[in-house]
Symmetry: C3
Subunit: 398 residues, 3 copies
């Protein structure tokens, strides 16, 4: 990205109203205004542009970025670490197996004990319905109270790195990919994007990706279709969000149980497996009761249910039905690729291969999106600071 | 903290004699002079003041702070990482399960192998009587020899993050909390502080906290009372230290087996469970012999012994006996809270709740105390360097 | 090191032709020209000299150094972390147990997913013959493709931290130790160095150390002897490399099955256990077939074979046969020391003890060698940059 383009982006940014993001968390995209979403995309692009030009965007001289992951993750961990490092923060992992974190009383205490020098806390907690996002809010309240009481010198910003409801760093990265792929957000209105269920031989994949996608993509005037077999419904609350979004932005949101119909003339397809919301809710209840036999029975039932829908695979035939047979194929990765990572999976190997470069590019936005979320929450005057960084042009690598 | 107060603290600091701390370790508080202890408190307060004013106290451009923990710990790990990060050091964990650290021959070797670029080594080793502090001294001798022989470019400073004898980062943080709570060290003389055993349903909690407290608090002219049921004696060597301290500073040190008597008119209470010294010594011997049956028998015995003293709980009734019914309640956290983290524990939930803010504040001093220990060991002219940092006022966050 | 010596080294460096190292990986020493090897030694010495003079050699303002270790390692991990930290990079460990890395399809994907902000990737993969170095090249191709396709903003440099074929960071550190011990590379020609097998009660030690040593040390006109019992042959390809090297540099490379003969008049001895190449190849095949009984049988066989050669120990008697009875004893550490770490091992305790300081010194070069490899791969004009760092003299520690 050349200097003029970066300068232009900073000017565009300065015209948006994103003051509400200062010192706030990023938990659900639908809690943010459109200006705030665009500000995040712009800051992400600017940070990437600065890095391409070997210009440092280190805004922290010291400070910690705490990662609190309730399940294992390489990609999210590296994205978070990359974003923190880009801005000058050092990641400190809170590994719950090494510690004694839990809910209730101890959340308040632990949240404060790890935050004495924390500027950011990134949380991934997507295992149980009704728990992950609630936990994030509990942590947020705890550090707010700690700051108000003079225990903490700063109130760390929370970034939702995936919860039971939304996956904002993923959906925002996906969206930024779309914006750049189609040459600007102004070219997205009216485009048909299909968030489709796809078959996977494993079970219980999180709902946060499809929910995050329909909760965000319905805000840009697009024609958003959610496709899945009967029984694979997502959270009703997010359906409501998507419907309201579509109404407010002049877009469309519809649902179908027919994958082929959904792909018809689509500009973008996002075929990915997930578990039925009702089943995940049931699993959460079984865990709460410690009913391990019940959980085992549920797993078997879900795998059997999945197996009935092996035809929900993103094949070349299906891709041929899309707009000019050339819809953009998206995935959050890793994908279950038929004949490669499993016998039958979410996508045909030739389709996946053809879009590999685009898929990697899609993923490459995530560190910048996370960095942008942090940047907007910690800088009082983000556009001014970015302009200063560009003017100073302090080299990232000597 | 305003600029004038920081300047005043730096001036006060420059009048103390703490030259003996340069390039030295911090292993036991009673190896340090009073001026050295006060210097540590002042530097901790100054570093906190600088951070509050968004002034960088980064004195290292690069360098490692090695953490060597022989048991798991979230809080100590985060305190150490926070302190290191504040000064510009990167933490590198030496996980002994990932490595081959042991005693004897290999201590010397490993200590050198991890120290080629280490400015600081923080060690926590509190499991076995007679071992932890001895291990730290073995590491200290090893890196000293490595430095003398030209193997190491610098001799890393050791910080005792908890051993079998003392817990200096805890007791120093506790003391700084007292100094600030009571408006200055000059207001502490004559105050009654009770370090009391308290009931816990778990067994074998380390002795380093009570020992650290009586070994340090007896140096400020206070009336220090150690209270515990018969059989819960601490290390005799530390009792001697406390007695000598009290004598030399015009304070008092006494012992009682009556919790209620101890609380009478107390200004400060610190009720916390620990294991009897004699039992811990026995456990160390059993481990050395690999006598697992003996260890199991000892555990049962200790739990039964604990259970006889369930009345050693910091209740509202006991708190009412303290000075104006308003003694400062202290704890190193996490506490065993009756009806919250266990059925019956160290403290009543209402007492804990009333002091929560103070407890978190108490804990918040630890990263600054650790940073101060490092600062005083690595800077040739600490007061001058602090004055320069204040004058330069390089922002921590842009 | 004084300023004049550093300046001299930088001038010497500038006369070498090492342009081929820019943006390249360091996988095998025999892929590098002699000038490139000397440049690495010089940059390592210069970086050490700068650090001794408290001059920062931080060339990165931010950026990640990814460590990808396929087996556990404290020393290599700390060397890599030290090197990265010295230059300003933050280490991010890719723990494969925490992730889903494997061969084939997923290597390409994972390599890209972790590299969005990676300047360096250090890989240790020495477990299986024919796999480790091949894996490194697969990763290298993956990140090259990612860079070419615009997915990655930079193409991270790979450093081989030990593979099935070579252990360049070890052999280069060993060599730099020799250069400095003997007062310059010009004093090495004609010296006899013995890379000898030695008995160890454990089995299956990697071949990369002896292979790395004979592959590198044969390039400096030395008289290199590889000694081992019959049946303990190393990879034939590396034997060819050593033979060719000796021929081209006017040195010698010979083999013997007699330890005493090898030690005769030696200037340097490097006695160390390793597993027979043929057995390691067989083990790799058994693993590929999942033949666990076969592996168990092989282990027993190898231990029995080892036990036949308990006399291959570096004793005082053997040391007495060396040049003036004072050959330099080398080891990559940790060593199996007779009567210390095992009943009978690679070396007598008195020999090891006498050379302890030299052994630690030998090890101390590794972080600087790794840093030099990174420096030469990432800086466009290394000599100029080093001259600038020296002139600026920005303090590492305030």
């Amino acid at each position: 990205m050349d200097k003029t383009s970066i300068t232009q982006l900073i000017q565009d940014l300065s015209r948006l109203d994103y003051r509400g993001m200062y010192l706030q968390d990023f938990l659900l995209t639908w809690e943010k205004t459109e200006d705030e979403l665009y500000a995040t995309f712009m800051v992400a692009d600017i940070l990437r542009g600065l890095r391409q030009r070997n210009i440092s965007s280190r805004i922290f001289d010291s400070g910690l970025a705490i990662s609190l992951f309730r399940d294992q993750s390489t990609r999210t961990r590296f994205s978070f670490a990359s974003a923190a490092n880009l801005l000058g923060l050092e990641v400190q992992d809170l590994d719950e197996k090494k510690s004694q974190v839990a809910h209730g009383e101890t959340v308040r205490e632990t949240a404060n004990m790890i935050s004495f020098m924390a500027d950011v806390i990134g949380i991934r907690d997507d295992m149980f319905i009704g728990k992950g996002n609630a936990y994030m809010r509990e942590v947020a309240q705890s550090v707010q109270a700690g700051y108000d009481e003079g225990v903490l010198e700063q109130r760390p910003t929370l970034v939702n790195l995936q919860c039971d409801i939304d996956h904002p760093t993923q959906s925002m990265a996906d969206m930024l990919h779309l914006i750049n792929y189609f040459g600007g957000a102004e070219n997205l209105a009216g485009r048909k994007i299909v968030m489709s269920w796809a078959y996977s031989p494993s079970y219980g994949k999180p709902l946060s990706v499809p929910q995050g996608v329909i909760g965000l993509m319905t805000r840009f005037g697009m024609d958003v279709v959610l496709a899945h077999p009967e029984g694979y419904e997502v959270m009703p609350e997010v359906i409501e969000v998507a419907e309201r979004n579509a109404e407010e932005t002049g877009g469309r949101f519809s649902r179908t149980n027919d994958m082929a119909e959904a792909f018809e003339d689509a500009d973008i397809v996002y075929p990915k497996s997930w578990a039925p919301f009702a089943a995940m809710e049931k699993r959460t209840e079984l865990y709460a009761k410690g009913d391990w036999d019940g959980i085992e029975a549920l797993e078997k039932e879900l795998l059997a249910q999945n197996a009935e829908h092996q035809d929900w695979e993103c094949t070349e035939d299906l891709m041929a039905k899309t707009h000019n047979g050339a819809a953009l194929y998206m995935h959050c990765l890793p994908a279950d690729i038929s004949g490669v990572s499993c016998e039958r999976g979410e996508v045909a190997a030739t389709v996946f291969d053809r879009y590999r470069r685009q898929l990697y590019k899609e993923a490459s936005y995530k560190p910048y999106i996370i960095a942008a979320m942090i940047f907007l929450a910690r800088m009082r005057d983000p556009a001014d600071t970015l302009a200063e960084l560009l003017a100073q042009a302090s080299p990232r690598v000597r």
